[in-house]
């Protein structure tokens, strides 16, 4: 006779094996490794919660210490490879295969291990893509997650960094998987229920709070005049003419400069209320002056940011907060919001080629993608109109019938022509392609495909790729804002001049931008301390950003 509940039965056997180590659902931290040995089987798909920020560090260490004869060859399916332990698992043989999305802090080591054959790579995903696969072909058998607190029943409070947790738990718990949570404390009642207890099988109390990575703090003191000029070009050359109200910002200094120019330069241009009102965005401290000046109406966040908790609590008109008052973030929903409900993505990258393809992968660093590819992609399923979306669509296909013409998401790559250590932003061939050749990948790790990019902004000007009609025009438009990089110097000067006459390329002087305004005095805040002051003392920056 066919049986149809094998997986449920297998899950119950695993829970029973773990239950011997638990009182109710609670397992002592010292027994965490034994718990994992009891419930995990060789070859399991395991999601070890490595988010962008919040890290299940105790469970990572516990997993690393397992008896290899009982647990081995795991298939890790996690969005962030962030902690050293995440890679130690592969060095030790606990894990073998990896599907992931982001590996910022481990980018150099993950590259070495991929070349060394220590990791069998499935794919480098975008966040939504990996989350989607959790429900189709990468469903975890075991999820190891992190929360701030739990009650005895197992109801979890994630705190402001909810991030990936609801998605991971949904995919695991409802498909006969096991959910194990590390928590900072066990309380009588939790401040709010982010994860209901019937989806949580075991709780481990950690001796110290889980690790949170501050990723979104950019010190205004490090913003250069070149970045200020580039930010002015973006505001006057893109935000203003398209009337971009709903958007996502990347995490670089160029977009931090834009955030800090809204209350000064943006105000002077009369743009308040007309641009930058609704964001899919982490709580960037650099946005505080714009919020305090009444520019920003609403922000939904992927995760939180260290030091922003009290400020967010006090500004619940702007942020999404729970009944307890603290931020409720959600990466999957915010990525979806950025993809479908934002009219613009603007962010930086490390390399752009002559077709406009961009990547943050270099031959020695594989940082993964994070959210940029979902934010920075045209949503083919979008059906609601908006002014910027329709205008961009009309620029791309001026002869199409208006009622049948798709709009276009504005996908803007912003940066200085020479980046850190004078490395050129523009290249003839992406390192990502060389890497794919060396590793025999079927796809090069491209962060944003050229056919999704609509504008490139550098200190030399704005290139509007929507207005390019041929591949050659596109190449010259890119060369035409590539400054004195080799790519820029090999431009066809005649063609670039003609593109400028057509408004495909616009220089600062074409937009009436005074170069004398490219001065740090134009920034609404010039230091972290200024941000604290703007926040009325509510923003509490982590110590590494304090110099007072």
């Amino acid at each position: 006779m066919t049986t149809w509940q094998n997986n449920r039965a297998a899950r119950d056997v695993r829970i029973a094996a773990g239950a011997g180590l638990a009182r109710g659902k609670v397992v002592e931290a010292r027994d965490a490794t034994r718990l994992l040995e009891a419930v995990i089987r060789p070859g399991d798909r395991v999601c070890l919660e490595g988010d962008n920020q919040k890290q299940a560090d105790l469970l990572s260490q516990a997993l690393l210490a397992v008896d290899l004869s009982r647990v081995n060859d795991l298939h890790m399916v996690q969005s962030g490879v962030v902690l050293p332990e995440h890679l130690d698992l592969f060095d030790r043989g606990v894990a073998k295969r990896l599907d992931y999305a982001y590996s910022g802090p481990q980018s150099a080591r993950i590259a070495r291990m991929l070349f060394g054959g220590k990791i069998e790579l499935g794919a480098v995903h975008t966040y939504l893509e990996l989350f989607a696969r959790y429900f189709i072909d990468l469903t975890p058998q075991v999820a190891l997650i992190a929360a701030v607190s739990a009650d005895r029943e197992g109801n979890l409070y994630t705190g402001p960094n909810t991030e990936d947790t609801p998605t991971v738990v949904e995919a695991t718990a409802f498909k006969d998987g096991i959910v194990i949570a590390q928590v900072n404390e066990i309380a009588e009642t939790v401040p709010r229920v982010d994860i209901p207890s019937d989806r949580v099988h075991f709780i481990v109390k950690s001796d110290k709070p889980f690790f949170v990575e501050p990723l979104f703090t950019r010190d205004p003191a490090a913003i250069t005049e070149g970045q200020i000029l580039t930010a002015m070009l973006a505001i006057k050359g893109i935000y203003a003419p398209y009337g971009v109200q709903r958007l996502n910002h990347g995490i670089g200094f160029s977009t931090a400069a834009i955030e800090l120019l809204l209350p000064t330069y943006g105000e002077r241009l009369g743009l308040k209320g007309k641009i930058a009102t609704h964001f899919a965005l982490n709580p960037h401290p650099a946005l505080i002056p714009a919020i305090e000046s009444g520019w920003v109406r609403q922000i939904h966040s992927f995760g939180s940011e260290v030091g922003m908790d009290e400020y967010i609590r006090a500004r619940s008109d702007v942020y999404f907060t729970g009944p307890d008052g603290s931020l409720r973030s959600n990466r999957a929903f915010c990525q979806t919001a950025g993809l479908y409900a934002c009219d613009m993505f603007i962010g930086s990258t490390l390399q752009i080629d002559l077709q406009g393809n961009s990547s943050t992968v270099t031959t020695s660093r594989i940082a993964g993608f994070g959210g940029a590819p979902n934010m920075g992609a045209d949503a083919r399923g979008r059906r609601h109109p908006s002014e910027p979306w329709l205008k961009a669509g009309a620029e791309a296909a001026p002869d199409g019938a208006a009622l049948l013409r798709r709009g276009r998401k504005l996908v803007v790559q912003i940066g200085e022509t020479f980046g850190d250590k004078n490395v050129p932003l523009f290249v003839e061939k992406l390192d990502a392609i060389e890497l794919a050749e060396k590793l025999n990948l079927e796809l090069a790790p491209i962060m944003i495909y050229g056919d999704d990019v609509t504008h490139i902004v550098t200190e030399e000007g704005v290139a509007n790729l929507l207005l390019c009609r041929t591949a050659r025009e596109r190449e010259q438009a890119i060369r035409g804002v590539a400054g004195y990089t080799d790519v820029g110097r090999r431009r066809d000067h005649g063609m670039v001049a003609r593109l400028r006459e057509r408004g495909v390329i616009r220089r600062p002087e074409d937009l009436g931008i005074n170069p004398l305004d490219a001065d740090r005095s134009l920034l609404a805040a010039r230091s972290i301390k200024d941000l604290v002051r703007w926040s009325g003392g509510l923003y509490a920056p982590p110590s590494k950003f304090r110099n007072w």
Binding site: E225, G226, L229, E416, T417, F418, N422, T458, E459, E460, G483, Y484, R489, R507, P508, E509, N514, P515, L516, A518
Partner: protein, 105 residues
């Protein structure tokens, strides 16, 4: 140190009445530009002292584009360069020509 000198014939005289202006600072990765209205209207000159040796070709390109875009007739630029990137040089030159074009002494 390397000394470079560029002289160009230009279409028009730089605007404004100010006789001199100074922008920027001498620092690593930065530069100071002193601009003076001391030449005939159809000429301009740039005297560069740079800490970075061997970048004459890039300077030629940066200066050529600058003269083409701003036509700074009558101006002499004296530049103390601390190894600034070409985009920073372009910005400072644009700032200098804008500052001297403002009215004032």
């Amino acid at each position: 140190m390397e000394d470079l000198r560029f002289q160009h014939r230009v279409r028009t005289r730089a605007g404004g009445t100010r006789q001199s202006a100074i922008v920027g600072v001498v620092a690593s990765g930065n530069l100071e530009v002193l601009v003076e209205r001391v030449l005939p209207d159809a000429e301009c000159a740039l005297d560069i002292k740079t800490a970075a040796i061997g970048f004459g070709e890039v300077w030629t390109a940066v200066v050529g584009d600058f003269v083409e875009r701003y036509s700074p007739g009558g101006l002499r630029f004296s530049i103390n360069d601390g190894g600034a990137r070409p985009d920073t040089v372009s910005l400072r030159l644009a700032q200098a020509v804008r500052l001297i074009a403002e009215n004032g002494q």
